[in-house]
Each structure stands twice: as C-alpha cells, then as structure tokens.
C-alpha cells in the first residue's frame, strides 16, 4: 500500500504539486495568486519541495526583470501520484467502514 508522503502531506504543498501536475511549468506569481498565499509562504514551501527534489526553479529574464518559473520533477510527479493514491485508499477504507 502506498504511504502518505510527509513532504507533500501539508495542504499547501499538496496544492502546489497538484497545480503544477498538468503543467510543464508555471510562473511563481501565477502560483502565488491562484493559491492565494504570500511570496514568503510560497517560497518557504517551494524550498521544502525543492530540497526533497520534487520541484525545480528556473530563473528567466523577461522584459529586463528576472522571473521565477516552477516545474515538478519526475520524482515529484511520482511522489504526488503515490500520495494521491494513498489518500484514495484512506477515503475508500473510511467509506468501507461506514458501509459496515
């Protein structure tokens, strides 16, 4: 049975990974605005995901300003899939218990 991933378990980190999962990459500001968090909160969680090897940061210059883009790594995608599978197992088990 797949186990919950302690790095992805935090709701904001799960949402960051889920947001990035259908994408090649997303701009930092977009993620910040769509998730409704501050720069510092997002940076903190991105750093933790980056340290775990689940996310990579890409710095690019656009219009003379540096922009940060975020992308899930293959390890991050694998970990997210496993975490979601573990959550689904918990939900299914809970429903099974309720049905009994």
């Amino acid at each position: 049975m797949a186990a919950l991933d302690p790095v992805i378990h935090a709701p904001n980190r799960l949402q960051i990974c889920a947001f990035l999962s259908p994408l090649e990459e997303a701009e930092f500001q977009v993620l910040r605005d769509d998730l409704g968090v501050s720069d510092s909160v997002l940076s903190k969680h991105v750093k933790q995901l980056e340290d775990a090897g689940y996310i990579e940061q890409l710095k690019r210059k656009a219009g003379g300003r540096q922009r940060t883009w975020l992308a899930l790594t293959p390890e991050g995608r694998k970990a997210l899939r496993a975490h979601v599978a573990a959550l689904e197992v918990i939900v299914a088990a809970a429903k099974g218990v309720k049905a009994v």
């Binding site: 378990h9 990459e25 997303a26 977009v30 959550l87």
Partner: protein
C-alpha cells in the same frame, strides 16, 4: 484561515493544517499523516483536484488562439506543398510567436505530452491523418497537377487541428 470563492481554499494556506468544518462541530485540525481520517483525506483530495482544475483552466487557450494555431498549422501544410520555404519559415515563426504569447498571457506552460491513453490516441491519430493528407496533397499536386490540392490539404489539416484543440478544452 482564508476562504475565496472560485479559487482553492479548501485548506488553510498559511499553515500546514487541514481544516475540517463540520456543522455543529466547528473546526477540527490535524497535521498527522498517520492519523488522517477519511474526511480529511477526502478534503485533501478535493483540494488537490481543485488546484488541478484551476491550473488546467489557466493553461487553456482562448478560442481565437486555438483557431489561429490551427490556421497556422494548416498554412504550414499548404505552403509546404507549394514548396514555398520562406512562407513555411514564416508559419513556424507565427506558431512559435503564438505559443510564446500564450505562455506570457497565462503564466503557465501546459504539458507537451498528452495525459492519458485517449489523448495519446487522439494525437497519434491526428499526426497519422495529417501525414496522410500531406501525402495525398503531394500526389495530387506533383502527379496530377491539381493546383487547388495544397489549399485543400491545408484547410483539412487546419480543420482537424481546430477540432483536436477543441476536444482538449473539455
């Protein structure tokens, strides 16, 4: 704690806690992965799916951009059949420019590879049929001398590309 209609707030984004709101029971929180209840796991799944939905919506091209991309791909086929290299390069530049515009406009880049077996099948089918149309266009133009063949082949490929891009929106 934050709530925002139309966005993602099923969880408290400023902390590491899930928030379970039960009428009559108030707010219950837990951050322990080992003691996660079914309701909390469901909430986490809902939050993840909501985040994915927002992401997919953001990555979606506007209809006019879908049409412009499809027209550009069709034009590539047409000018390719006419052996007009300069125009072919121009079409590539237009496609690249449209993709770059979409990237800047949305702030995201969708996955290049399709997700799921059905999408792979759709893309492969489109490529096979488009190559077939191109081959037919080459035959009609070079062997039978039909001058309308490049335009017809380009139009067909543009139409197919538009339909495929629309199916990707749903």
């Amino acid at each position: 704690m934050s709530f925002c209609i139309g966005k993602l707030y099923l969880a408290n984004m400023e902390t590491n806690n899930y928030i379970s709101f039960h009428i009559g029971k108030g707010l219950g929180m837990t951050d322990d992965a080992q003691k996660m209840s079914g309701a909390e796991a469901q909430e986490a799944l809902n939050a993840a799916r909501a985040a994915e939905d927002v992401s997919r919506k953001r990555a979606r091209m506007p209809l006019w951009l879908n049409a412009a991309m499809a027209a550009s791909v069709g034009a590539m086929v047409a000018v390719g059949l006419e052996d007009k290299t300069e125009l072919l390069i121009f079409c590539f530049v237009v496609v690249f420019g449209l993709l770059n515009y979409q990237r800047k406009r949305s702030g995201v880049v969708p996955l290049v590879r399709p997700e799921g077996g059905a999408n792979w099948l759709g893309l492969t089918g489109f490529i096979v049929v488009a190559l077939g149309v191109y081959a037919a266009g080459v035959y009609l133009t070079d062997n039978l001398g039909y001058t309308w063949a490049p335009l017809a082949a380009g139009g067909m490929v543009a139409g197919m590309a538009f339909v495929v891009s629309l199916s990707g929106r749903s």
